[in-house]
Symmetry: C2
Subunit: 208 residues, 2 copies
């Protein structure tokens, strides 16, 4: 089994060799089918033949295009994890950050989010994982750019990834869900000295 493990690379089946109508339709139908099935039935019962049937596609099409179920699930998860827009503008850069990270943590810690994370990480090809991490970094970059514009003191991207995102993801993957106040504490810790929360003292949580 699994002889042609990486033909996807061997024959450059990558991104846009022929993105025209039919291919795109098949891809959309298959993705939709996967999303539907994940929403309605237990993940252990989701199989490629079933996905294919619901998508009105032949199983071999899926096998040839994605390789195996894990790769397909990872692909679907990665596309669902792609942010729909930029972080909301609430108020100060820090407020925006807090709001965004809280929502991020909630999404990732939810049942579906957690499973998507795992799907992405368990794929043989790490491309989707990198893509997913890239999305996060991009969102943070937007927040950082805003802070720069207004001159507000703000953590660097590395600090945010290492000390806010990483602990959140670790907890989700290995233990349990991080709560909203835990997230705020993480943020408080990486904010540069002198950056105030609202109008009060640094560690205060009175405002809001």
């Amino acid at each position: 089994m699994a002889k042609g493990k990486d033909w996807q690379r061997l024959m450059g089946y990558r991104e846009n060799p022929r993105p025209g109508g039919r291919s795109a339709r098949v891809q959309a139908a298959v993705h939709q089918s996967v999303r539907d099935m994940l929403a309605t039935m237990d993940r252990a019962d989701v199989t490629i033949p079933l996905i294919a049937q619901r998508a009105n596609v032949t199983p071999s099409t899926i096998y040839r295009r994605w390789g195996d179920l894990q790769a397909l699930l990872a692909d679907v998860a990665a596309s669902r994890l792609q942010p729909e827009g930029e972080p909301a503008r609430i108020g100060s850069a820090r407020d925006d950050l807090e709001a965004w990270v809280e929502q991020y943590a909630d999404e990732m810690a939810s049942g579906v989010g957690r499973r998507m994370l795992r799907d992405i990480l368990s794929a043989a090809d790490g491309a989707n994982a990198e893509k997913c991490s890239g999305y996060t970094q991009h969102q943070l970059a937007v927040l950082i750019a805003r802070a720069e514009e207004t001159g507000e003191p703000f953590p660097t991207q590395t600090e945010l990834m290492d000390h806010v995102i990483s602990p959140i993801i670790y907890r989700i993957l290995f233990d349990q869900a991080p709560g909203a106040d835990y997230v705020r504490e993480l943020i408080a810790k990486v904010m540069p000295e002198g950056a105030l929360k609202g109008g009060s003292a640094r560690t205060s949580r009175a405002t809001r």
Copy 2:
């Protein structure tokens, strides 16, 4: 397919229902078989029938006991990730911590370590992931206890998990390997104020 998804729980097949001779032998043979195969062949070619053959066991035995390949791989990975002993005693508590974390990061970032991590995370049952995180926390607890004995200032377990272990694991899972100096920087950041590195200034790396 996969009808009896979680019979392992339904009928309490858990840890020690009957750990006597034969069961233990089968478990050892299967684990060994998996380790051998992972070492010699491509992971995509590792199948349950092959594992069974090499372990001189019937495939259905493996299916009934572990459920599927992912669960088996996660089980093997978790047992390989179990630390063999306590962290080495090098010198100061901080030196011990640095040495231990560096080795931890190296192991996890290596090809095998990375794959084991992913195996553990991709299993449907999160028990192995928790177990694995528990090992890490236990090792850290030992280091913390030592620091307490000698009265050296030391980070808390939460600080270490959140700001040293988490960023390392995140990088391994999503991006690339963390280097030794990156690891030392993380440690430097969580050491309490006033804790000196070797005999010199805090951020110095002259010693050692």
